[in-house]
């Protein structure tokens, strides 16, 4: 037995080492319900310990290297590259003067924009607390687009915090160590960020491809998606606040696995390959100043008063519509109105007048003619052949005088009123029984 191990010790050692690693791999991968295998997003204790050791070993030299690089750049920038500074300073002073004027105008626009934004509950777009960090290292392989920053749990960093630059989003914090943190870039194949195209409002999930380019996957083929369109964060992933720039559409390629879908290759706004300083969003809770809070309260109260005013205005317009029937369309279908009570339809007619028919529909009211002639409604001097006596009613005559506008109305029995009966001033219509 001893000779076997001595003879094949190379192979035995190889098999033992391989077996141990494969068992370790099997413990890190789990099978999901969807049939896919995934590496646990949160490392186990043992795995985290290994990563911590590796980080502990690699980070200090990397910090030294990074510091040396910054020192060299500082030397260059502050001593060697300071030529023609005086001229540049004068030019910059002029630029500052101009920018101050522009800033004053933009500040007012920004304040107004913030108030409007708050009113429509877009508060999550605002970032209120960030932490600057330096990128000090990477994973060292193209298959893993992660990098390390020089801030960790000592600065209260947590998992899934968004990492951005002034240009756009960069990634999210994947692992936090005592003095460093591992950031998963948006161009990694295992990353995922909810994004939206600015113009077409098409949503999708952003992740990296094998070439390290971020792409929006699983998008239905759409001709409207054109290169150059801006891509923003959608805000639905609970990591990136909405509205942050992601990049622009570079090109659209067909999904190799699904015919009806396309992949939108995105040119990232942030320089993912050349990151130095990044910002970690540590809080997205709204934190308005006293002025802003006062403005918001004022806006809210104004919004309520405005709604009440609109309601009152609408009510008044309805009342006006009822009182001005001439403004209604006479050809419009009549609503199925309930019969009006007698008191409202002429039961209280003036003395000397017969009470009007109780079911008379509201007739359109014509405007009086300034100079009535033969053709003016109600001003005809010669009666029609089949008409009896017609009394010109003048400007106040109702359009019921015209046969087309007056529906046939049966003679109503005389109401039990003591008012004297007089002739109906309304001219008889052709279908009316005299």
């Amino acid at each position: 037995m001893e000779s076997f191990f001595v003879r094949y010790r190379n192979l035995v050692v190889l098999l033992v080492v391989l077996l141990a690693q494969i068992i370790g791999l099997a413990m890190q991968v789990r099978h999901t319900d969807s049939g896919r295998n995934l590496v646990d997003a949160k490392d186990g204790t043992g795995v985290r310990l290994i990563r911590l050791w590796a980080d502990w070993l690699v980070t200090p030299p990397e910090k030294v290297l990074h510091g040396s690089k910054l020192g060299a750049l500082n030397l260059w920038d502050n001593y060697i590259a300071l030529r023609h500074t005086r001229e540049q300073n004068q030019d910059l002073q002029k630029t500052i003067d101009r920018l101050r004027l522009e800033q004053a105008a933009l500040l007012e626009d920004a304040r107004q924009g913030q108030r409007l934004q708050a009113l429509v509950d877009f508060q999550q777009k605002y970032i209120y607390k960030t932490l600057a960090a330096q990128a000090i290292g990477s994973s060292g392989t193209d298959q893993s687009r992660v990098f390390y920053i020089d801030k960790g749990s000592d600065y209260k960093l947590e998992r899934d915090m968004a990492v951005i630059t002034a240009d756009g989003i960069v990634g999210k914090v994947r692992e936090v160590f005592p003095h460093t943190a591992q950031v998963l870039a948006i161009n990694d194949q295992s990353s995922g960020a909810g994004v939206i195209l600015e113009t077409t409002r098409i949503r999708g999930i952003l992740r990296g491809n094998s070439a390290g380019r971020p792409q929006i996957v699983g998008v239905l083929a759409d001709q409207r998606i054109q290169p150059g369109e801006k891509v923003l964060t959608a805000g639905g992933d609970q990591i990136f606040p909405r509205g942050l720039p992601v990049g622009v559409v570079d090109r659209v390629v067909r999904d190799p696995e699904r015919d009806a879908f396309i992949d939108v290759i995105v040119k990232p706004a942030a320089h993912l390959d050349r990151l130095d300083e990044v910002l970690v969003i540590t809080s997205t809770q709204p934190r308005f100043g006293s002025d802003q809070q006062q403005d918001m309260a004022t806006s809210e109260s104004l919004k309520g008063a405005e709604a009440a005013a609109i309601k009152e205005q609408k009510k008044a317009s309805e009342i006006m519509a009822e009182r001005l029937p001439g403004l209604t369309d006479p050809n419009a279908p009549k609503p199925a109105a309930t019969p009006a009570p007698a008191s409202a339809t002429g039961a209280t007619a003036a003395p000397g007048q017969t009470p009007a028919a109780p079911v008379t529909p509201p007739a359109p009211k014509l405007l009086p003619a300034r100079h009535p002639d033969h053709f003016s409604p109600g001003a005809a001097s010669t009666p029609l052949p089949d008409q009896g006596t017609s009394t010109p009613t003048g400007p106040e005559s109702k359009p019921a005088a015209t046969p087309q506008s007056k529906p046939p109305v049966k003679p109503q029995p005389k109401p039990a009123s003591k008012t004297p009966q007089t002739a109906n001033p309304v001219p008889p219509s052709p279908g009316r029984i005299q």
Partner: protein
């Protein structure tokens, strides 16, 4: 190997290095592998830990040493990624073992053979990585063989320089 005498090592052609070289070279390789890609942006077509593994496994002519060094450096690399720990470890373990086994049978002083071996073993490491990641573990992975080919070429170019530098650090009996 420490018990072998100088005459025996000379007979076998086994090289020996100061202990500091054994410790610092892999450490620097891993550290540079983590740091240089930031400077070179998307052109980091190399795998320094793999080159170091191949070198020491070849010149030491010891499969066990190659196996252990490959496993250690591979696990170290894995620990710096967001992937499962062990994928690179297995790949470099096999590479170290093969390099150590081949080193017994070939002339490790021949530069062409060493460079050719580095190129082939780089591609083999990529293939093992793909096999473990995609087929053994069933994880999604987009793959570009062109990138792996470029990496193999990069490793060969680096080996051309690095092997020469490390050769000068060996202990002469």
């Amino acid at each position: 190997m420490a018990i072998l005498g100088a005459d025996y090592r000379r007979d076998l052609g086994i090289r020996s290095y100061p202990m500091l070289v054994y410790i610092l070279t892999p450490l620097v390789a891993v550290m540079l592998q983590a740091w240089l890609p930031r400077l070179l942006a998307g052109y980091a077509w190399f795998d320094l830990p793999l080159v170091v593994t191949v070198y020491f496994a070849l010149v030491r002519r010891d499969p066990i040493q190659g196996t252990l060094m490959g496993a250690g450096l591979g696990l170290f690399e894995d620990a710096l990624t967001n992937h499962a720990i062990g994928i690179n470890g297995v790949a470099k373990t096999v590479v170290g073992f093969l390099a150590g086994s081949v080193g017994v049978r070939i002339d490790v002083e021949n530069r062409t053979i060493r460079l050719l071996l580095t190129f082939v073993l780089s591609l083999l490491a990529s293939a093992i990585y793909l096999f473990i990641h995609h087929f053994l573990l069933g994880l999604d992975l987009e793959w570009s063989w062109l990138a792996e080919l470029m990496k193999a070429v990069g490793n060969t170019v680096i080996a051309l320089v690095l092997f020469h530098l490390l050769d000068r650090l060996q202990i002469r009996d």
